[in-house]
């Protein structure tokens, strides 16, 4: 009984290590192919439009309401200690250094990451990836490399948009609805933000772009290994891609914050 348990545990560890090795190799192959000419500008623009431009609406919406909630919660917490004037600073710092990059990455993963995993997964089960190989086209270069670049361009820009819209949301709930002086709100926002905080947010956005794109493309690419063939396989890959990306976002968020503070 105990032997079987240990055996099963060992097997799981081996499978996880194998999977980790494969994903690192997949990432390195994708990274290497970014720098090998001819450069895939058209594909990068296409994916940037898909990951970036098409996510603007959802980022604006979630950013605005996140800012409003922080403004509302922050006000009632700060008013207890008579520091409601610091609301602008609280909203801005929370968004820029923490919630902006994390929520943006989660939303973009839910919208574009799931789509990447599903699209590449369907290509795998319908032999389109094999077809690329028979045409002497490197599938990792063709499918993954342009998406990393597109994500690295899109994530920081969307994060910046989320931050700005969130600060505006906090302004609406804190100043317009709860009566904090508008000049005080904006002034504390401007005074509190340091270049270090903005850079920190961008480092996170950059890291999340690389990590989530790698996980989503990897899950789609190896659908047949982990989730099997068919529609069910693709749906499992897509779900796993989103769940694992979200977990990775929180893990990397902690690691980066640890080194930044």
């Amino acid at each position: 009984m105990l032997n079987k348990l240990i055996e099963s545990f060992g097997k799981r560890i081996l499978i996880s290590l194998e999977s980790l090795g494969r994903i690192i190799l997949f990432f390195l192959a994708g990274l290497k192919n970014i720098f090998i000419p001819p450069f895939q500008f058209a594909k990068i623009i296409d994916h940037t439009w898909f990951i970036g431009s098409k996510s603007i609406f959802v980022i604006v919406l979630t950013g605005f309401f996140t800012g409003m909630v922080i403004g509302l919660q922050g006000y009632y917490s700060l008013v207890k200690v008579g520091s409601e004037a610091a609301l602008g600073a609280a909203v801005a710092l929370t968004l820029i250094s923490e919630l902006g990059p994390v929520f943006t990455a989660i939303m973009v993963t839910a919208r574009a990451g799931s789509s990447m995993a599903a699209e590449i997964g369907v290509m795998r089960i319908s032999e389109q990836i094999d077809a690329l190989k028979t045409m002497h086209i490197n599938p990792v270069r063709f499918l993954f490399s342009p998406r990393i670049i597109a994500a690295v361009i899109s994530f920081p820009l969307l994060t910046a948009l989320f931050d700005v819209v969130g600060i505006f949301g906090g302004f609406i709930s804190g100043s317009i609805m709860l009566g904090i002086n508008q000049h005080v709100y904006m002034d504390t926002v401007i005074q509190s933000i340091k270049v270090h905080d903005i850079n920190g947010g961008f480092y996170k956005a950059f890291a999340f772009a690389v990590v989530t794109t790698t996980i989503c493309c990897y899950r789609g690419y190896y659908t047949h290994l982990y989730s099997g063939f068919g529609a069910r396989g693709v749906s499992l890959s897509t779900t796993n891609a989103v769940v694992q990306s979200c977990i990775a976002i929180f893990i990397f968020d902690y690691i980066i914050t640890f080194f930044l503070v």
Binding site: S126, E127, Q128, T134, M135, H136, F142
Partner: protein
């Protein structure tokens, strides 16, 4: 007879517990069209995928002009694979690309042809295959037969030296079927490529090919020319041709 262009020697392949190819032997000769016939699920597509490098054998050898494929240098293997083209059973067209881009893809990604030359080549091929006017459509908007022809166009656009056709006429009406067969014959004569066709079109396929191989239960049970078929008293071959369970 000359040295075969491609030769399978005792090739075995299994997927999990299932042994698909069992010490299979087969010879493919340069400039000929060889048909691989056999029941569904007997490993015909797996056999083709060994040649293109999508699947590797567990044991045995695949010789290319007498040299083991797995012992060729990286450059030689790459140059051999560049001579190949593959038409998939389910077409494997890229559903996010229009028809023009699907056909042009191997040229665009691998060659330094000017755009105009690629365009001319693709349109010429589309015209020959009766695909004129659909260049802006997407695969999902086409009928099964049209998709087949697009896949055929993509397989031929690079002027390959060896073409592997995995059931190129499945799902086509008899007229289109005949057209595709004539097209393969015509192109083969024109460009003198070597072709291997996995097919269930019996007896029509016999008019297209020079050699036939019957694959059954992971083994080639008959291999020979059309004349050999006519002269053959092989029960297994005659039963298969007559549609009796082998």
């Amino acid at each position: 007879m000359d040295t075969p262009l491609i030769q399978f020697i005792d090739v075995s392949k299994s997927f999990g517990e299932t042994l698909v190819l069992k010490r299979l032997n087969l010879s493919i000769y340069k400039g000929e069209i060889t048909a691989v016939i056999g029941k569904s699920g007997t490993g015909k597509s797996v056999l083709l995928k060994h040649i293109i490098g999508l699947v590797n054998q567990d044991s045995g050898q695949i010789l290319i002009e007498g040299r083991p494929l797995n012992k060729l240098s990286r450059t030689d293997r790459k140059s051999f694979h560049k001579k190949l083209s593959y038409m998939f059973q389910d077409n494997a067209l890229f559903d996010f690309m229009n028809i023009y881009d699907n056909i042009a893809l191997p040229l665009v990604e691998n060659s330094t042809f000017p755009k105009d030359q690629v365009k001319n080549k693709v349109f010429e091929l589309m015209k020959q295959l009766g695909l004129t006017g659909i260049q802006e459509k997407f695969p999902a908007q086409l009928s099964g037969g049209m998709k087949k022809r697009v896949a055929l166009a993509r397989a031929l656009v690079t002027d390959p030296k060896i073409v592997l056709f995995d059931e190129p006429t499945t799902g086509l009406d008899p007229i289109r079927k005949k057209n595709v067969h004539s097209m393969i014959q015509e192109y083969q004569k024109k460009f003198e490529f070597t072709a291997i066709i996995v097919s269930h079109d019996i007896p029509e396929i016999f008019n297209v090919v020079q050699r036939i191989a019957l694959l059954d239960d992971g083994i080639i049970k008959f291999e020979g020319s059309k004349k050999d078929i006519l002269d053959s008293h092989s029960k297994i071959l005659n039963d298969f041709i007559d549609g009796k369970d082998v």
